[in-house]
Symmetry: C2
Subunit: 184 residues, 2 copies
Amino acid sequence: MNVTEAITARKSVRAYLDTPVPADVLEKIVEAGRWAPNAGPIQLSVVRNAELRKKINDVTLDAMAHSGIEFLRQRAALPGYQPLYDAPVLILISGPVTIPISAVNAAVSAENMLLQATGAGLGSCFLLSLTLAFDGADGSDLLQKAGIPDGYRVQCAVIVGYAAPESKFTTGERTIKGAVSYID
Amino acid sequence: MNVTEAITARKSVRAYLDTPVPADVLEKIVEAGRWAPNAGPIQLSVVRNAELRKKINDVTLDAMAHSGIEFLRQRAALPGYQPLYDAPVLILISGPVTIPISAVNAAVSAENMLLQATGAGLGSCFLLSLTLAFDGADGSDLLQKAGIPDGYRVQCAVIVGYAAPESKFTTGERTIKGAVSYID
């Protein structure tokens, strides 16, 4: 798939099949994250472990429900809603809390992985709400289980897997966003 | 160019030819920025105007020199250093200051544009230091000239153009970054 096609085909997939992601495909996705323009260290933790994914999912769901942020509270209240959408692979992207641009470093790596996954025919989704789980009371336990280095924060995450035919949690039609002005 | 090639070929180009970027190529780069996974509004300001680019360049250079950040101070002190590297096109990516994730929204859009530019055979570079210019004393004037809406902050930027054969400001060998761990 050429780069333009990958950019326009990429969308937020919110329902996944059980089918595992082949190891070589996953390695290429992770490698794509490492080729991003990072000005500072990042850590990619690739969580295939089902128990840990469920734990992160459940803590995130609870944190969303109690976040005080109306959009997140409403999402968490939807029947059957799971923040990790049962994806078979979760990739956590973390960076040092002492570096203000860690969030930006993580985001550009995430985008590379989303596009590489799209090119490989996989569904994917960029996740931010799960940072609530790692920043909350259960955070230090989750950080340890996920192998995040001391002093690092989970800045964002990506889920990947084979897309299920239908998702009841898709938030809307896929449209192009962003206003543009030319200053000539 | 396929998506994997674009991801691995993308690099930070810090010297540009005068050659203008064709309008249709630039429009595709800008459109790529609008297809990113943004959870909130962003504004893309495409600055081709030479006078405004020079003003932003000069204010950034001064801000870097007085930033108190040693790395930025050292870069600014390099003979002939120009923060915008004389690129013919500067794309400012801004988002509302009231949305905490505006920086992340801007970053994923930036990465899309960098990859689209790479696929089109153009050089590009992700810029963060120029946010100093817009956040500083001359900021409101620059924001107005660049057509940035009220309440928006320039979160990051991308420069694009045809790469010059050599750059004396390249910071080091292009290497893959980011530590990886698998949690199975």
